[in-house]
Amino acid sequence: MFREITLGQYYAVDSVIHRLDPRVKLFGTLIYIMSVFMAGGLSGYLIVTMVYMLVMKLSKVPFSFALRGLKSVVWIVLMTFICNAFFYTGGTPFIKYGVISISAAGIKYGVAMSVRLILLVLGSSILTLTTTPNELTYGLEKAFGFLIKFHVPVQEIALMMSIALRFIPILIEETDKIMKAQASRGTDFDTGSIIKRVKNYIPIIIPLFISAFRRAGDLALAMESRCYRTGYQRTKMYPLKYTKADGKGYLVLMVYLLLFTLAKCTLLYTGNSGFYTM
């Protein structure tokens, strides 16, 4: 019943993007987000969309698979559009009714904001589509390693993240087994009032929590008996190492950022608002 849920949305194929160091991909995501925020006007959005398409092509992830990530934000996008299109007060409205005022400028603005949001979600999902959760954790640990100097327990946080990631599939499997055991005693998950249905999940949640706590206790004991202590600089079994491709990746990203900023500044300076507005 529950097994279909896969963690995150990693799409396992071998591609240039998959092979990149997670730190490069983190940096790339950051740059891309910046460029989406800077972009404006038709040409701007066209460029960032094309960049997205290009990276998707390189990553060998089917577009339809990436689109599934949009499902969860479809309502937010819709709300954004409605708020902007119906309540935008800048333009000259052709319909005005109470607080609602619809203008061409408002609709344009709404469309632009929705496109921006969609690009942000799709763009950053490339990171999770091409990086396993564990790689991502290591990448984040490295990238934020400098925070150790400010007494942020970076390693511990990373450890917590990877343990959580490790446990999620186990807990999903256990939920499945518990649901089957309780269904065999007649638990009914699909009928009755909301309150009744919520109550029907208590026989699932309690064994799940007890098992999770027991597992956590066992794990802590196992770690302690192997002398795990916090607060030491720990080395990795498979340390992240930059390759030539990663260097090229950084270079491409820097050039992209530079060009994008230049284009934006030039257009600002020459007063061509096509790139700027919205």
Partner: protein, 275 residues
């Protein structure tokens, strides 16, 4: 009363876990299912109460296709009670008695009826009254197992299906539990299906044995028919019973002749005659 006809099944990863399984369980049978780990035993029994739906083939309970249109699958779960391998997956209430009452209450019994059913089931499995109001989480592993069995027994099913019921119990606990199963089979006329890794237990108590191997039903017959095929069993990573091997050895040395014993009891009877 339970019929499988060409039942096949695979989990999401599409590997075939069950392949064209056909067998029939009669009213009042004590069925033993044996097989190597991963051979599909647990998957098989989860189909008996409709928890898993076969990819192809039909399952009938008392002649009716349980996945046919309009069949009440929820009621089937009360008629075919399945006890899972690990009691931790089902215990959740604050007290033992309440936990056992959970199934009967789901059936629509009143508080009092459920209480009676629960008390009866608990004393049947040998949980003493002073433990009724304890938290199920304070019990030992074996006691938890008994409570989980009582939780299904209290629903008074027509078939009781158990996945490795004696695993984790000491010899006496095993014997008591198996004796109890035999008793409820004889007195309450409940059909019993038991998955077990103990050839001895299956030979001693069952009258019908199913042998699973890599998703196929390899052997299907009486304990005598099955356990006399020691070669086949060994090829599947199983074995025949200790008594069978002893008697074969004695036969080789010319001490016994034409013996068909597969249980210790039978072997003992045969040897006693010789003395």
């Amino acid at each position: 009363m339970i019929e499988f006809e060409n039942v096949s099944y695979g989990y999401e990863d599409n590997k075939k876990v069950l392949e064209s399984i056909t067998f029939k369980i009669e009213d009042g049978d004590f069925v033993g299912i044996i097989g190597h780990t991963g051979s599909g035993k647990s998957t098989l029994i989860q189909m008996m109460n409709g928890l898993l739906k076969p990819d192809s083939g039909t399952i009938r309970f008392r002649g009716e296709n349980i996945f046919g249109n309009g069949y009440n699958l929820r009621e089937l779960k009360f008629r075919v009670g399945v006890v899972f391998q690990y009691p931790d997956y089902q215990l959740f209430e604050t007290t033992v008695i309440k936990d056992v009452m959970y199934g009967p209450m789901n059936m629509g019994m009143t508080q009092n009826e459920a209480m009676d059913a629960a008390k009866q089931a608990l004393s049947l499995v040998g949980i003493s009254e002073d433990k009724f109001n304890k938290s199920p989480f304070e019990l030992s592993g074996g006691e938890k197992k008994k409570v989980s069995i009582a939780g299904i027994l209290a629903m008074n099913p027509e078939v009781l299906v158990l996945d490795e019921p004696v695993a984790g119990l000491e010899p006496e606990g095993r014997r008591n539990l198996l004796k109890l199963l035999e008793k409820i089979r004889n007195e309450n006329h409940i059909t019993i299906v038991m998955v077990s890794h103990s050839m001895e237990n299956v030979a001693d108590y069952c009258n019908h044995v199913l042998v699973m191997n890599e998703g196929k039903l390899e052997l299907n017959g009486t304990p005598e028919e099955v356990f006399r095929q020691a070669d086949k069993l060994e090829k599947m990573g199983l074995s025949s019973t200790v008594a069978y091997y002893i008697m074969r050895e004695l036969e080789k040395r010319g001490i016994v002749h034409d013996d068909r014993s597969i249980t210790m009891k039978e072997a003992y009877g045969c040897l006693e005659k010789l003395l």
